[in-house]
Amino acid sequence: MNAVILPVVLPMLAAFLMQPLAHISAFTARLLGPLVLAISIAMLVQPWFLPDTGPFTVTFAGFVPPLGIVFYVDRLALIFAVAVPLFTLLSWGWSTDTHGDEEKKAREDALMLLLAASATGLSLSGDLFNVFVFYELMAVSSFGLVVQKGTGPARIATLRYLLISAFGSVLALLGIAILYAQTGTLNLAQLGQLAPAALHGPAGLTAFAFMLIGFGVKAELFPLNTWVPEVYATAPARIAGLLAGLISKLAALVVLRLLVVVYQDTSASQLLLLLGTLTLLVGDFSAWRSRDFPRMIGFSSIAQLGLVFIGFSIPGPWGVLAGLTVALHHLLLKTGMFMLATRWSGSLDRLVGCAKSTPVAAGLYLLFALSLVGIPPLPGFWAKLVTLAGLAEQGSAMHLVALGAVLLGSVIKAHYLFRFALKLYSRSDHPALRHGLMDLGTAALIGIALIAATIYVVPIGERLRAVAQQAADRDTYIATVFPDHANTAAPEGPR
């Protein structure tokens, strides 16, 4: 049980102590962040080696739900919970040149740790307001991380991101208020129990729409994703990779939990399907038109998130599987691509002919592009296939339109990704742009992981299918949180 709580609490503790520690010993402060993240990874990997006895809950402060806050730990939550410190560590800023400003580095490290803590908590939480608080913490830490460079454009981009995110949070809070007024509880499982009776009408659906808008800002959903290209262009590339790869998936996970546990009727899924399709199309078109590398892959990640939402909107375990595979694949891929973007941050024209000087980087880019478009036997192909199969099986008009959109999106993707690849491999006299060793090493590591996933695609697919089955099971969720059904009776009035 501690193994699940400590990865959320220890990074917070380290973040609080980071600045005083930096005053005493800068060296220890540097080491503290990666050390805490490594400990978190070690703790979260443990449950994978134990036999899967089904999901369990962890209560806080000794109060049973629905009075207290509860963490719901199933395999899906564990996948994301272990991915958070892992990818945060991969995206850590190891640079040693701080221009003598140790305090600035300590502040940035503290923000990274808070981002990791809140993201871990978000994947595990089973209480609606707890989700909101962790979401806000994730948002505020990301504001600090994207404004890091301190250039004029970075500040303007951060400002727009901040304002859109804050207005989204206002709407999310309104949705939570409406939900609470109708049901009287904030516990996700209890909301799921009360939902069929209490949340059936327009009020419940409006609350979902508001919360979708609020959480959709981070999940880069249309039309709340106007902040994305500017921020990805002006933030350090590893931070952009973290946002695009990891953080957006966690926001999508929250929407999934809401959808599966609370809103199992069709109108909510249809709304999600519509927005997902729009996100996909707008993202791919904008990527086709963009003229610099970070924004190009930024827009393509918006499109991929649209695909994730299309997957999640398919009812049942198939939908969860579709969205999950696309999400995990994209998480791996985009982190790698943004590692390459650290050096390739200029206009696309400036990068012509780079393949000669950095063959490894160009080769990795080609691998990533092939998987992103969905060429077999790479994992991207399987992820898209699952989604397309799920859409075809549903058969309704909306789903078939979405299917067409996904195929169209793949064609556009192929065009702009391979256009860039041609540029890389063409002859040119441009000066060489070497990548840093850490960035190239991380990207290479991800490339190896991708190839390993290709080889082991069948066993991985089976495991993921079991995970999706468990995650889509609403009754198991409610039964795990309330094992004896004794806590949900309405109490009598004042004594």
Binding site: G152, L174, A233
Partner: protein
């Protein structure tokens, strides 16, 4: 039907604040005014959230405060609002600090002008030829 009593007026007021904030977001051309619209909208949502816990003729949720055995209002929305206010204050303080530095760099807080200069500066940083308005894809 909606009765026109005190609580209803408060509700309408809360919704009105939210509407003013939303209108400000869309209409205003100055970043600082958009931030103020955000503050107003947050105030509206917090008011609505507190009112969710309302009970007619009830006492505050403090033991020993009201008459023994009286009904007390819901404590949970009050805690939610406390948290929301603190988070809001944090975000607003952050926004102000970014605004101050932006003003110092650019001398203006106008949305359209900053957008134009953003493109120019970014293009200069990245080495793209800055041709505002041309949407041709890189061939």
């Amino acid at each position: 039907m909606i009765q026109l009593d005190f609580v209803t007026i408060l509700y309408v007021g809360g919704i009105g604040l939210l509407a003013i904030g939303a209108a400000g977001l869309v209409i205003c051309n100055n970043f600082f005014r958009i931030l103020l619209a955000l503050v107003v909208a947050e105030a509206g949502v917090n008011l609505l959230l507190v009112l969710v816990g309302y009970r007619g003729n009830a006492a505050a949720p403090i033991l020993g405060f009201g008459p023994q055995g009286a009904q007390m209002v819901d404590p949970i929305p009050q805690v939610l609002v406390l948290t929301a206010i603190v988070i809001g204050v944090g975000v607003q303080a952050l926004a102000i600090s970014v605004l101050v530095r932006t003003y110092r760099s650019y001398g203006t807080l106008d949305v359209r002008e900053l957008k134009a200069r953003f493109e120019v500066d970014l293009a200069a940083e990245m080495g793209i030829e800055s041709t505002p308005g041309s949407e041709a894809p890189a061939a």
